[in-house]
């Protein structure tokens, strides 16, 4: 499917989607946190989109907002889209887990939880994967400061 076709198809599924292709080689879709799980489920189960391969799940700190970027590919149709979800709540950022849709998300979400402090609802095993259990801060956030161990030029 072409990007335009995907855009017209998915636009009807959930409200408040934002589409952009600016500055990216893929179609980017911004989705509201409340709609995320439903939208993702649609993307995978719909036979026309069939995004069954979540190949990258990254946490991003956009300064004001925290968010997660999902790179999706269909192994059947071989098209790729990027889904983004953001929240301005830096104290307690929470999204729905997609680990029930793509099993690989379980580990990737734990990684995001570790480094960005983003929590995922309904995650089967959300605990620290890389960091120790008594670690409190979130190293990959932009406001993380560690004057002893980090060399900033």
């Amino acid at each position: 499917m072409t990007n335009e076709a995907i855009q017209t198809l998915v636009n009807s599924w959930v409200p408040d989607l934002e589409f952009t292709e600016e500055g990216s080689q893929f179609l980017n879709i911004n989705v509201q946190p409340e709609q995320l799980h439903h939208f993702m489920n649609q993307l995978k189960s719909n036979t026309e989109t069939q995004f069954d391969y979540l190949f990258c799940l990254s946490g991003v700190d956009w300064g004001k907002e925290l968010g997660v970027v999902y790179h999706l590919e269909s192994t059947v149709h071989r098209h790729i889209i990027v889904v983004k979800v953001k929240t301005e709540d830096r104290e307690n950022p929470t999204f729905d887990s997609v680990s029930d849709i793509w099993a690989t998300a379980e580990f990737h979400e734990r990684e995001v939880f570790d480094f960005f402090g983003i929590k995922f609802n309904n995650h089967p095993n959300l605990k620290n994967l890389f960091l120790t259990e008594d670690w409190e801060r979130f190293p990959l956030r932009k406001d993380f400061v560690d004057e002893v161990n980090m060399i900033i030029k």
Binding site: S24, L54, F55, S58, V69, H108, F130, M150, K153
Partner: protein, 373 residues
């Protein structure tokens, strides 16, 4: 062995065992928390981070040329391909068209890297199932490749041969000859691998039907590389999203449908043959030309997001760069093949024995710095 006694005198109890971070089968500092009932594994939970260097954070303070060198330290067995991934991302972002010569050399060295990595894997695979001799056979052939690398780029493992815009130096005058020698040598030695290990009855008993991964699970768990392909999931980035000179060669994607440990083993052996054929197609006609195009000393990517996938020896490596237009990236994410492949270990190892876990883990071909980044 399948059933556990549960009468009043003998009560079987599950117990917990800590495999790693210092354990011969975890190939580095991976820690597995195992729950075991006798010999049967009930639960596997990986605990990571023992070698985490936060490369993604370090990338945020480095320039694009510097990032290339950090990627060597992720999956050190396919360091050249990791470098290539970052360079391709930067080149695509800057819309630089690198010379043909660069593309061909990158592909040749990339495939040599894959063979070297698989040689090491094969040796270690044998060692994990108890046949220690394979290790030395694998290393014998890997050594030849490393010598070729050393001659051309001065390093044997973490090569740093790619730079954004091309290669750091031209290839050594001996390169073509030595690669041809290697191909001739390896074509006689690869069948030896089969006679030593593949055909062994004990080895086949140990690996067939062990750690089965279905195609649906493989896709869902984001398996890539030989792990995915052994389950019948066509996931070769070189086929689906060809990069460098891979669009001008013909090769077969090694596919198996069994999805067990033995299938993953066979896929890797098959891949070595395919890599040999790719190198053979390219080695005789490396185009003349420059080995790099000039780039600015300070590379600034235009504002935007860039993603590049490549096929390393372990699977699909993704580089995701968010740039705000400055000389440093805003965010870099490496989607490492090992991380996704490890996440399915707990899925396929449960129900097997300790020996099965070791064999299964060997065919996932885990490199811990790749997982921990």
């Amino acid at each position: 062995m399948e059933t556990t006694t549960n009468n009043s005198n003998f009560k079987s109890e599950e117990y917990f065992i800590n495999m790693g971070p210092q354990h011969p089968a975890t190939h580095g500092v991976l820690r597995l928390l195992l729950t075991i009932d006798g010999e049967i594994i009930k639960k596997v939970e990986p605990d990571l981070g023992y070698i985490h260097r936060s490369i993604e954070k370090m990338c945020e303070r480095d320039s694009y040329q510097q990032i290339v060198h950090l990627t060597d330290r992720m999956d050190y067995l396919s360091s050249h391909i990791n470098n290539e991934a970052v360079c391709l991302t930067v080149e695509n972002a800057l819309q630089i068209e690198v010379p043909d010569r660069v593309k061909v050399i990158r592909t040749i060295i990339g495939e040599l890297t894959r063979i070297a990595s698989h040689c090491l894997w094969w040796g270690v695979m044998g060692m994990d199932v108890g046949a220690l001799t394979t290790y030395f056979y694998g290393f014998r052939d890997r050594e030849m490749i490393n010598d070729i690398f050393e001659e051309t780029c001065g390093a044997r493992l973490t090569m740093n041969y790619n730079i954004p815009g091309g290669l750091m130096f031209d290839i050594h005058p001996n390169f073509v000859k030595r690669v041809k020698d290697f191909i001739a040598h390896f074509k006689t030695k690869l069948p030896e691998y089969d006679t030593l290990l593949t055909g062994n009855v004990i080895f086949q008993k140990r690996t067939k039907g062990v750690g089965i991964l279905t195609k649906e699970d493989a896709i869902s768990f984001g398996a890539s590389g030989p792990v995915g392909r052994a389950s019948g999931y066509s996931c070769d980035v070189r086929k689906h999203h060809p990069y460098s000179a891979l669009d001008r060669v013909t090769f077969n994607e090694a596919l198996k449908t069994e999805g067990d440990t033995f299938a993953r083993y066979q896929v890797r052996i098959q891949e070595m043959w395919e890599s040999l054929s790719i190198i053979e197609q390219l080695i005789d006609n490396i185009p003349e030309g420059d080995y790099k195009v000039a780039t600015n000393a300070v590379i600034k990517l235009p504002k935007g997001e860039y993603y590049q996938k490549v096929e390393t020896a372990r699977g699909e490596l993704g580089v995701y760069i968010i740039s705000t237009g400055t000389k440093n990236p805003y965010r870099v994410k490496f989607r490492s093949p090992g991380f996704s492949n490890l996440s399915l270990l707990s899925h396929i190892a449960v129900g097997g024995k300790i020996g099965d876990l070791v064999a299964t883990m060997a065919t996932l071909d885990i490199v811990v710095p790749d997982i921990d980044r």
